[in-house]
């Protein structure tokens, strides 16, 4: 067993760098944050979450752990038992989109001790396998930018590796059997996280939502189901899983739909620049003023402002030279302002990350102060260029 070799000594994950989905590398990163593929899989002969006993859950966990830690995914894999992890660390994983909120919380009568885990490829965080979520296995592969083919290839490979050691619940007619019938078939959810401030400002976003609805796609907010699109961040993914192959869903999203939405957003931005330039400049620079001067900021306020700053950066309304300089005496200039920096700030203003930065648990009011201070600190004394 090579368990130990693959597990870091510290059970708490170390996250000092940006996650894959914030890297701003690859195709269409002016609009596309990341591409994501998720596969729902279950073990044959094992009860699903609502009927599983604690013993069943433990058995599933053990079986999956052995196979996952033995498999070769071409990356170092960290296994984290969520039932023995501090709540703040679990929140960090949620904020990094490595586990879902329900998975953080746990299930059953004693959710805190519900046997459940996540396996994460480190340090790239491209792969996350949730064990004992709604399904026994939820394999997630993420890539920066528009790279659905790549994310699908990753997930397909991981799925093959896991399947080599476990019997999946599968029906020739209905495909991969899942706890919720809305996932049965391919068990596939494939989608992208998009930054769509242009479409929001021109009011066209509703049209995109309606169009997506008509094409059996789901449009959701930053943190998935039921969440609001705060910071103009939207997730678009397929809705149906039965009767359409993975290749078909991939082709539809990557070659047809997403490029259209990306182009639509770009057109909106160009239009705003051409016809409402002063209005846009005003909004972008007010947002800059907010993130560099405010003394109290909620997560939503920070995300809304950072969204506009990001728009300013990718459209060239805010150039590194405009905001460079102002280095405090004795301080070295930080790197220049770019999209990646703003992406990373969007993550670090989240409650758990902020507390990780501060180094201790703080309440909501203290977080507002700390968040404003953190942004001021990060956004002053920037370099002229990289």
């Amino acid at each position: 067993m090579s368990d130990e070799a693959k597990q870091p000594g510290d059970s708490a994950p170390q996250f000092d760098r940006g996650a894959e989905w914030l890297r701003a590398e690859g195709e269409s990163t002016d609009v596309v944050f990341s591409s994501r593929v998720r596969l729902a899989r279950n073990l044959a002969g094992m009860r699903f979450a609502i009927k599983a006993t604690r013993g069943d859950r433990q058995q599933t966990l053990d079986a999956c752990r052995e196979v996952i830690l033995r498999a070769d995914f071409g990356a170092r894999v960290m296994w984290a038992d969520l039932h023995s992890m501090a709540p703040l660390d679990r929140s960090l994983l949620v904020e990094r989109h490595l586990i879902s909120k329900p998975h953080s919380k746990g299930r059953g009568t004693n959710p805190a001790e519900d046997p459940r885990a996540v396996a994460i490829s480190v340090p790239d965080e491209r792969l996350a396998i949730m064990v004992n979520e709604e399904d026994h296995l939820r394999i997630q592969c993420v890539r920066s930018g528009l790279a659905l083919s790549q994310a699908w290839r990753d997930a397909d490979m991981v799925d093959d590796q896991v399947e080599a050691g476990l019997d999946y619940a599968f029906s020739p007619r209905l495909g991969y059997l899942t706890a919720c019938p809305t996932n049965v078939g391919t068990g596939l959810r494939m989608g992208v996280m998009l930054h769509l401030p242009g479409l929001r400002l021109t009011g066209e976003i509703e049209k995109v939502k309606r169009a997506a609805d008509g094409m059996s796609l789901v449009v959701r907010g930053f943190y998935g189901e039921g969440s609001e699109a705060v910071g103009d961040l939207f997730q678009i993914s397929n809705q149906t899983t039965l009767g359409r192959s993975e290749a078909e869903v991939l082709r539809m999203l990557e070659l047809e739909i997403i490029p259209k939405v990306v182009e639509y957003e770009r057109v909106s931005r160009r239009e705003l620049l051409a016809k409402r330039r002063i209005g846009l400049e005003d909004q972008v620079w007010r947002a800059w003023g907010e993130v560099t001067n405010a003394r109290l900021l909620t997560t939503d306020e920070a995300m809304r402002a950072l969204s506009l700053v990001r728009l300013g950066v990718v459209t060239g309304l805010i150039r590194p030279a405009d905001v460079a300089g102002q280095v405090e005496e004795g301080g070295a200039p930080k790197k220049a302002l770019d999209a990646q920096m703003v992406n990373s700030l969007l993550l670090f203003v989240q409650p758990a990350h902020l507390q990780r930065v501060v180094g201790r648990d703080i309440n909501q009011e203290q977080r507002r102060i700390a968040r404003a201070a953190f942004l001021r600190e990060r956004l002053t004394g920037l370099a002229l260029d990289r």
């Binding site: 279950n42 044959a44 002969g45 094992m46 009860r47 699903f48 979450a49 609502i50 009927k51 709604e134 083919s149 397909d156 799925d159 093959d160 399947e163 080599a164 019997d167 999946y168 619940a169 599968f170 029906s171 020739p172 007619r173 209905l174 495909g175 991969y176 059997l177 706890a179 919720c180 019938p181 809305t182 049965v184 078939g185 391919t186 596939l188 059996s216 809705q239 149906t240 899983t241 039965l242 009767g243 359409r244 192959s245 993975e246 290749a247 078909e248 082709r251 539809m252 070659l255 490029p259």
Partner: protein, 200 residues
């Protein structure tokens, strides 16, 4: 397991199942809420009397009243269909077989008409839930469409290689493989991936 009334916190004692346009609608009510809504069920009453009662109350015929004790449960995990309807989640892989009749209409609606799996299959296949014979490879489209599509895709592949667009070429190659192996259905609505692969 007792079920809660749809309208209050008391235990449901009256269970009503209606079929409307092929869609199964269930109501679970306690005595009081049932009385308020004019729904009553006496488990021992002869079925024609029950029907007459519903008719006179103006409720669409086609109603069955299923006493809790007779509700079918999955033999493997004992989940009842009523429990599924409440949670939206099944109890085990065998539930798909146990509730096939009730699930299929729901599935078809949720999956926008999709009834059969198309796509990846495990190499080591543990069959569960599907007593149906192995579905034939999707042969919905006539062979000629398939051949025409494959030919077009191969051409696109050549073009992509000639233009040194290897990412795209790999993508097309995978798609060709998908069609060849019957994993990808051929539909005329989806032409071969031409984006970026055509002549520059």
């Amino acid at each position: 397991m007792s079920m809660k009334c749809d309208h209050c916190d008391r235990d449901a004692t009256v269970h009503e199942v209606t079929m409307r346009n092929g869609v199964r609608i269930e109501k679970h009510l306690c005595d009081e809420c049932a009385a308020q809504r004019g729904v009553t069920a006496q488990p021992n009453a002869p079925i024609n009397e029950l029907l007459k009662q519903f008719m006179t109350q103006g409720i669409t015929p086609g109603i069955q009243v299923v006493p809790q004790s007779r509700q079918s449960a999955c033999p493997s995990c004992k989940l009842t269909f009523a429990e599924f309807k409440q949670a939206g989640l099944l109890g085990c892989p065998d539930c798909y077989r146990a509730f096939e009749g009730q699930l299929m209409p729901l599935l078809e609606r949720a999956q926008e008409g999709g009834q059969e799996h198309v796509g990846k299959r495990p190499r080591r296949m543990a069959i569960s839930g599907g007593q149906a014979p192995v579905a034939p490879a999707p042969a919905a489209a006539p062979a000629i469409d398939r051949d025409r599509m494959l030919a077009a895709m191969r051409k696109a592949l050549e073009t992509a290689v000639a233009q040194e667009k290897y990412e795209l070429a790999a993508k097309i190659r995978d798609q060709i493989r998908g069609v060849e192996e019957g994993r990808t259905p051929v539909t005329s609505a989806h032409p071969p991936p031409a984006k970026g692969a055509g002549p520059a």
